[in-house]
Structure formats: structure tokens, C-alpha cells
Symmetry: D2
Subunit: 293 residues, 4 copies
């Protein structure tokens, strides 16, 4: 027992699927979240001795999530902040934690008052990490697939004995945008900035000629940070979803960029971080997030 120690740890209830209906008027609203709550603090005895005196049950965390939803959900980020405030103030030994949410977007069916369909291609994400007095908020999304049918190429790369790729100045560029950005303040209209960042990324992706996905991601990150003072850092983890021009010469057909085979695996995987110059980094906030370097 003396040879090993417990270091980082957290626990809680994951994927609480809470749907909040606002029905104060005939025109209902709908907020659809998947909330995870995990606590950090002094939980040593639970691990080493099975002493649960500090272990706020994951079931209690679940009940709290649903009870707090009764008071309304202004934004995923605000909701997570309330959970963080509650658990760190209610229990002396809870010094921090990690709270996360996914949000699914719904739209009205023909502007109906209480009938909706799930409309958003992307899943919105939010993470709040608290450690004592420090709080980091990281927002983002995944699942937004974009594609441009031209104005993309890849040339000028190094060749060695394992290189067979041909240069091209006209290819399909396609990716699923997975991105997360870190705020430098809590004084944000999180919903408005979310919409704005998404729009900025889409607009940047569509614009201009892409010399490579690295360049495109950097441009997207640059645009997002430049447009939003509240954001210090943005990360991308984006597949290069290959669309291979199908060789139709076997039957005498040319294929000038018209017929493509959309491949599954393997795929390119491009990951990059763009940061506001001279802003502080916050590496620990990103721990446990898959696929970002």
C-alpha cells in the first residue's frame, strides 16, 4: 500500500439526459441537454479504505441536475456554472470538478407552438473545469460536416521512397468540424457567441482557395479569435475525409472531378491550436478531451 499513491481522480454521474420545457405561454420552448457532473477534492479515503463519508453519491448529483433544471437553463455554460458553484460550496471537501454538457438543437415544425424536430447537424458542447478559485470554460461542437467541391489542392510536399501521392490543384476538401474554444471570461452571452463562432468557421471554410487543411484550420481559428474578444484559444481535431476521384478509364470514361469514392478509413487527421498572442495558456483545462493535442 505504501508503494503507490492516488493522484488525479474525479467521479460523478455521466450523461443525464435532461429535457426542459418552457411552457409559460402557449409558445413552448425546448432545451435538450446531456449533462455530466464529476467532483474533485478530498476523496482519498474512499479509494484507499472504502470510506464513503465524502462521497456525494452520483445519484445525488443526478437529482441535483434535474432539480436545478426546474429553475431554467439559460445556456449550457451557465447551467454548468451553477452546478459547480453548488457542489463546491455545499461540501467542504469538494474543491473543484468537471461539468460537461452536450446540447441538441431543435427547430419548430412550420413555426408550430409546441411541435419540434431535431434540426441541428452538429452537437454543441460545453465543459467547465473548476480547481479552487480557477474556472475554465470551454465551448465547442462536433458533427458539422463540410465539403467544398473545388478550390482546394495539395502541392509542394516532400517526397521520399514511401511517397506515391500525386500533387493536385483541384480536389474535394471535406471534414467533420470538431472544435473547442476557451473563454477568458464568464461575462459572455454564450448562446450568441456560439452562433457567431459557428458562422465564422463556416464562412471561413467556404472562402478562398485551400492549400491544405492545416491552412484552412488556422484561418478558421484566426477568424474566430479575431472576431471574439472573449475567446483566447481554439482547438480543432478534423479528419481529412478523403474523396478519391474514381478511375473510370477501365470503361473508357474520363473523370474530370465528377465521380468520387468517399472513403472511410484511413483518413487524414489534422489537429491544431490557435491562441491569442500573449494570452495565458491553461493546459489542465483540456485534460481528458479526446483527440486534441
Amino acid at each position: 500500500m505504501s508503494d503507490v499513491i492516488l493522484t488525479s481522480n474525479q467521479y460523478g454521474k455521466a450523461e443525464n439526459r435532461v429535457v426542459r420545457v418552457v411552457r409559460d405561454t402557449q409558445r413552448h420552448e425546448l432545451v435538450d441537454l446531456n449533462v455530466t457532473s464529476q467532483l474533485r477534492g478530498d476523496f482519498l479515503a474512499a479509494h484507499t479504505e472504502g470510506d464513503n463519508a465524502h462521497v456525494v453519491p452520483t445519484d445525488t448529483q443526478k437529482n441535483t441536475v434535474f432539480a436545478f433544471a426546474k429553475d431554467g437553463i439559460a445556456s449550457p455554460e451557465a447551467f454548468l456554472q451553477r452546478l459547480a458553484d453548488h457542489f463546491t460550496s455545499e461540501f467542504a471537501w469538494v474543491s473543484g470538478g468537471r461539468w460537461a454538457a452536450e446540447q441538441y438543437g431543435w427547430a419548430r415544425i412550420h413555426d408550430h407552438d409546441h411541435s419540434f424536430y431535431r434540426s441541428s447537424p452538429e452537437t454543441r458542447t460545453a465543459v467547465l473545469v473548476r480547481d479552487g478559485d480557477h474556472t475554465a470554460v470551454i465551448s465547442g461542437f462536433h458533427g458539422l460536416t463540410v465539403l467544398k467541391t473545388t478550390e482546394s489542392g495539395f502541392v509542394g510536399y516532400p517526397k521520399d521512397r514511401y511517397t506515391t501521392l500525386q500533387e493536385t490543384e483541384d480536389r474535394i476538401l471535406a471534414t467533420d468540424i470538431t472544435t473547442r474554444w476557451r473563454y477568458n471570461t464568464m461575462e459572455v452571452d454564450f448562446n450568441a457567441v456560439y452562433d457567431s463562432v459557428k458562422d465564422t468557421l463556416l464562412t471561413t471554410f467556404a472562402s478562398g482557395y485551400s492549400k491544405g487543411l492545416q491552412q484552412t484550420l488556422f484561418q478558421m481559428g484566426q477568424a474566430a479569435i479575431t472576431a471574439h474578444d472573449s475567446i483566447d484559444e481554439i482547438k480543432f481535431s478534423c479528419p481529412n475525409k478523403h474523396h478519391f476521384r474514381y478511375d473510370l478509364s477501365f470503361c473508357g470514361l474520363e473523370n474530370p472531378g465528377e465521380v468520387f469514392y468517399a472513403a472511410d478509413r484511413p483518413y487524414g487527421l489534422i489537429e491544431a491550436t490557435v491562441q491569442r498572442k500573449d494570452s495565458p495558456a491553461d493546459e489542465s483545462a483540456w485534460a481528458g478531451i479526446a483527440g486534441f493535442c
Copy 2:
């Protein structure tokens, strides 16, 4: 060997992911399909003796799919028809087959000429089954999640010793619409009818008070067939995606239909077929389609 016989069989290449770009003008178009081709006919010797003289390779079927895409894809249904015509006319022993496609919907990013994002929540489906002179075309979609926050109830059901459910006249009704409809003609604007059926189903779902998902599905089917002379039959396989009112009495809160827990499993599963009166049935066309009775 004499004790067993080969009965129904089919084979081919599944999930050919073909993307067709139309680039005749600066304003590009994009068609994104997942095509499966399977042949039926005289393939007995391949099974019993390993004699492949009749086995048009699945690889050849793949090449054919991509080669035909070069000529354009007006609709999934028309594309499948061309494949069926080709294989049944090219090879004497191919008497029929099953061709299927999924289509993924894309929209322009801010009306851009060649930049798109994958926008449709639902996946469009098409199946063409040919047996000699008979051809059946079944279109549909899956993955369209709809929800109404009120105007739904469930009362008047029988009770026995295993019944604990409480009656309610105000609940959330939510489902993923999975539907397929069978045409009675090939003289159809398949894209236009697709859009119209989808719209009809959404409108019907949104309208009125639902006494049960069975009633809602029947109304949806009735509306689709009534509005479209070209459709004889429509099937639904729809989960009742339970949204349970979370009991908040443990902390003294009431919950008048505001906070819900969205459950995963188990779920209700309601399946129904609505058919045009006096129209012919075509049971064999539906074989191999999951989750429809």
C-alpha cells in the same frame, strides 16, 4: 447433399459511397449516395459446386455503380432503376435483384457556389426490387426525430395485475420517424414526392391532439396516401421515445410538465402499415427490411 436445397439468395456489393459533383457551371451541385447492388437469378452452381461462371463479381457491380454515376443521378430511384435494367439485360441468368440507396442531404453554406454542409437530419432511402417483369420501388427515410411538448395523452387502456402505468392527458410525445412507402408507378418525380411526403408527415405529426402513437401514425399514413396518388402503401416503425416527468418532490418542487428525463431503453415500438383500399399488396418487396411488420 440431396437432403437440402438452396432457396432465396442474392449477392452483390454493399455500401458503395458515391459522391457525384455537377460542375457544368460555376454553381456546383452535389449528390451523395450509399448504393448497394445485389443480384438474383440462377446462381445455384456457385453455391453447390463453387462454379463461378455466373457470378458477376461484386467488384464489377461496384465499378458499374461508379461508371453509371458519370452520367448523372437524377434521383436515387432513377439511378437504381438504371442499375436494375443493366444487370438484368446484360446477363441472361440474372432475373432480378435488389438495389438500394441511402441519400445524405447537403445545403449550401451561405448560398456559396461550391461549399456545402451536411444539413439533413434524416437519411433518405430507396429500394428497388425486381423479379422478372415485376418491379417494386419503395422510398422512405429514417432519422427524423420529432417531439411535441403537449397535446398528447394516453388513457382508456386495459389494466391487469402487471399494470402500473398511470393515465395522462398531457405528456411529451417523441419519436424517430422511420418510414417507407411503396409506389404504384415509375412515372413519378421522385424528388418532389419525397419532399412532399416528408412535409405531409411533419405537418400531420404537429397537428391536433394525439391519443396514442398508433393514432398519430395512422393519420400520417392516411395523409400521405391521400395526398399522393402514386403511393399505395406506407409503413412506419417508430419508437415511443419516453420522456419521463422527473419527480422532484424529494426537494419540495412541483414539476408541471417542465423537467423530463429522456430515456434510452426500453422504448415503445409501434409499427403499422397503411394501404390504399383495394390496391394490390406486394409482400415480397418488403423482405429483408428491418423493423417493419
Copy 3:
């Protein structure tokens, strides 16, 4: 309303995840099922009028599944039979239905009395379809991936202008076995026959030279029916999971069947039914099962 009619329909509760522990002695047993119950019969008024007087709630079906589990689960098939007997005898208007189960296999950790790990690669399936006095039982499994590194080829097939495939007499043959077989009696030791069929299929797959997946599937089906008098029919829906020999000539290496790229899509899809000669068919029993022709 008079223009359309309700035809086939069924409804119930899907995916009841029931785990039954047998703890009569210190050496516990574990049965892990995913049970779906769907009723058929006179449910017209529910669809056309929203009259639920016949609608045994899906929630009641769920409660019944868990209550019946208390009495023990000898086999998935026997459990489904008990459900069918109950619902068709308890409610006069329930004339039949469809009951299905998946079973997940567990093994003891080092022969421990009450600690287990989920060991089976395959998922066992069972379906019971009842229509009045007629009952069909279909058992099977999916998810068993098999591969032979040699003794497989594909030659002698027809060529046309779309053919580019090269003949080979040494390739990898790999598939995920998805199979279902239909019993001709309920007087079966379902667990013993399940184990025996699985073993028969594996043994047949491993044996001899394969001239094509069609031949292999037929041999597997023939072996299963020949070995088991209680089985009249067996179906396969099996992908040809392509393992392409990676061309290493770019760096001067030969590749005599040593380095393969395992592709995802597209894949061959071979489906076949083998039936005991002169036995009756039962097409309606197979309705709604995906991927079998």
C-alpha cells in the same frame, strides 16, 4: 378515411434489458437478455379512433417481462414462448405477436463463484412469431467474425467492360457470420442446439478450400441442417470483408500474401437460404428481419 385501410401492425416494448441472477447456491448463475415484446390482433380502433381499450400498455408488457424473469429463464426461446402464451391467452383480442431476444454471453473470471466477464464475441438471437395456432421459432446469432488466411480463391467468373478484378487462388476470406435458423418443433434443447450449430458453422468455415463465399455459406447451411433434425431452414447474411493485398512495389518490396489492408466499405454482401428438402416454407416468420432475402 374510407380510402385507406390499416393492414399489418404490431406494437410493444422493445429492448427490455433484463439480467437474471440465480443465487440459490454460493455459485451464482447469470442470464443477460434484451427482450422485445410486440402484440398483434385487433387494434384497429386504436389506430383509426384513438380508442385504447385494447391497447395493453407497452409499460405493462415491460412489467410482465421482468415479473416472468423471476421464475427463471431456461433459454431465450422458452422465455419468449411463455410471453407469447401469456399475452395471447390473457387478452381475447391478442391473436399473436412477435417476441424477440438477444442474449449476451458471460464467463466466470478464473472459475469464480460470482464474478464474470462478458466473453462471447457473438450475440445470440431468438425470435418467436405467433399467428393464431401457428408458432415459428427462429434462432441465430450475429457478430462472430471469422477469417482464413489462405485456402480461399475466386476464379472463373464472367468478365465484361466493367470488370477489373483479377482472379486469385490465394486470398484472405473474412466475414461476420450473421445467421438465423428456423426450428420445426418446440421440443428442442435450445441451448444445446445453439452451441452445436455454432460449432458446426465454425468447423465448416475452417475446413477445406473455399471457391467463393457462396459455396462456403451453402456448405455451412448444409452441415447445420444435416446435423440437426429440428432445423428446417437456415439463412445467412454475410459480408465479404475485403482484405486487400497492399501493393508495396513503390518501395521495392514483394508482398506474397503477408500485408493486407482491411477495408470497411464497400463490401461484398452474400445472402442465402438453405432449406431441408420437402420441408414447408414459412415466409411470414421472416418479415421484419433485416438483411435476409
Copy 4:
């Protein structure tokens, strides 16, 4: 442009599905990997200017993976090391990278020489992170589901107004083991240690009474580190897969721990790190791995 900077970044080819057959004798061997290669170094110009002079194509990385497989794959870890050595020595501006692999386990069908089935419930993982002279190797697995039917409880936890959970001294404990451990040396028989760690974790899980999943994970980590001098740190990210005792009182039945409902979401999520005392930490090695704190 001057306002933002590029910080961490990496790119490469993900999920190269390479299958290596060893066929030097009649008794073939099979290694089945999913390999990801990502490079780090001086790639600034690619991001800021679209200058690809340093961008070793992801396609070249793919070719390299398959070419190296020709020489054999002793273990995933050794294979990743060879890739790291190659890329960092071949290209001056490549100062490091991240290489990862999943391995799928196969067993012989009845001890057959060249026929196999995919047998392992768990997926083996390996990650090698190199930064200049420093190399970290992290091995692990996921997907191993374990369950004990008794000898588990949860008592003594704090209660507040949101607590409704009842204490219990007899429950099912079930989890999917996802674990990763970090080596302190490359002088390891990676395959042997992998088997040993897996066995140690299973044995520890099975043994004794569990006062909580936290305690069980700590015991598992302690056992692994104590038994293996080559391991300095082990992390767990494990769901508490709830199995709720189904209340059968509605029909007059007792349920003394025999009938359970296996729930999907929400679930407990317990994450912990156990480290060899006085050993160095290596936080950067863990970046980008999901679900570990």
C-alpha cells in the same frame, strides 16, 4: 495575423487497418492492428502560409505503416517505436509525434492452422508520444465488461436535500474496464506484461468485498503497479453500469437480488490515477486521451 499564434499541433493518417499474416510455416499467425501516425515539429508555414514543404503527406505515412508491417509486428508498442524512430530521423523538422494502435485479438478455430475467429472482448491499445529525446509509452485496453453479482455495497455516504439513494450492502457491481498504464522503460516484453496486467485486474476485481468502485479501482491499480516494476502509473475511466433491482411488488413478488434492469444512461463515471510513489509524472503524455482525468 499578428494577433494569434499557432501552438500545439499534430497531423497524420488515422486508422490504418493493417493485417499481417505470418505464413513462414503451415501454421499461420495473424496480427490485426489499427494504426494512427501523427507528426509534430516545425509545421508553422503550412498553417500560416499554406507552404507544404515540411508536410510529409499523410498518404506517405500510410504507405510507411504498411511497408514496415512487411518486416513483422512483434508488438504494437515495438511497431509504434519503429515508426517514431523513422519519422524523427528521416525528416529534420519532425521533432516528435504521437503514434497509436488498437489491436484486435484472434484465436484459432479448433486449433486450426489458418482459420481464426475474433475472440477478445477487449481492444488492446498502445500510444507512443515522442518529444525530442523523451518518449512515453502508454498501453491499455477498453471494452472488457465485468460484473459481480454480490459482495458489493455502497454505504456511509453524505446525505443532503437532493439525496434519495438508499444504502445497500448487496448490489450488482458492473463496469467496462477502460484502462491505460505508462511504462518507465522500453525494455519490456509488452505482450507478456499486457497479458499479466489484464489478468491482475480481473483477479483483483473478482476478489473480496467492494465498498465502492473507487476502492475497487484503486486496488486494481495498486495490484498492477506492485506486480510490474516497468509500470509507473495506471489510469482508469470506468462507468458504474447500474443494475437496478426491479420492484416486483406490483404483482406480489419479492425480489431478493434476482431480477435486475440494466440501465444505459445516466451512469456513474469513476476515474482515478494510481502512481508509483516517488516516480516522475508525465502529464503531457496523456493529452488527447478521452475520459481520463
